[in-house]
């Protein structure tokens, strides 16, 4: 998770020009870092590429819109990294 977080934090820092030190596992990508949905596409692209996965953004968005999940579950970076690790693990299974 720590290396996953470092990779994700670096991606966010470079993609959105956010100082690396402001990005923590507790940061909410939208509420704390001010990343909008369009910028998040660039982040998702870089994450997909870096980890060889496909973040299920549509499913997550649908779940949030349907009230079945909160944005914190997907967009707090610590939670995001846990999900990335799960997707990587599932890919290798």
């Amino acid at each position: 998770m720590s290396s996953t977080f470092d990779t994700v934090a670096n991606i966010i820092s470079e993609t959105c020009d956010i100082p690396r030190e402001k990005i923590t596992p507790e940061s909410h990508a939208i509420d704390d870092l001010g990343i909008d949905s369009l910028d998040f596409l660039d982040i998702a692209f870089a994450i997909d590429k870096a980890f060889g996965i496909k973040l299920p953004l549509e499913q997550w968005t649908q779940e949030v819109n349907d009230g079945k999940a909160t944005t914190e579950q997907y967009f707090v970076l610590g939670n995001l990294c846990t999900r990335i690790d799960s997707l990587v693990a599932a890919k290798g299974a």
Binding site: L41, F45, P56, L57
Partner: protein, 157 residues
């Protein structure tokens, strides 16, 4: 091309779903009201319409890849370079490829050439969503048939 109607693609030359590439032909018209203002005495194909022509080319590729089930909407244009003027009457060949197939989005790259020479290029991002209205999909299917979209079964499907 019918610039005033944003009909910028005349014919799909090749659509390779395995290679995830497309090539289209686009003929810049000799006359258009757009050339009256862009520019008086020096008519040029507007750069924004060249970018739109690349976006439409990428869009047809994405529609081909998703089996005409979803609509790509232009979301971002990056690294757009307009390398030379395009005059009325110019024949253009536009090629595009899929760079990344994301969840609800896609990254593409397109190039416009004239006589083999690169005129412009760009990296283009799309959001991809279900067709918002059946009439919209029907109108897209009509355009698809007109420009030789090769997957008739899927158009009707």
């Amino acid at each position: 091309m019918r610039l005033e109607y944003f009909q910028l693609i005349d014919r799909i030359v090749a659509l390779d779903l395995d290679a995830r590439t497309i090539e289209v032909h686009a003929q810049v018209p000799q006359t258009s009201t757009i050339f009256e203002g862009h520019f008086p005495g020096h008519p040029l194909m507007p750069g924004v319409l060249l970018i739109e022509s690349m976006a439409q080319t990428c869009g047809w590729l994405l529609i081909g890849l998703n089996g005409f089930s979803r609509m790509p909407f232009l979301a971002a244009v990056k690294e757009a370079k307009l390398r030379s003027f395009v005059a009325p009457g110019t024949a253009l060949s536009i090629t595009a490829s899929l760079v990344h197939d994301g969840s609800g989005f896609a990254m593409t790259r397109a190039t416009v050439r004239s006589d083999g020479k690169t005129v412009c290029e760009a990296d283009i991002t799309f959001r991809i969503v279900p067709f918002p209205d059946p009439r919209f999909r029907a109108s897209m299917a009509e355009v698809a048939r007109a420009i030789g979209f090769p997957l008739e079964v899927r158009i009707d499907g």
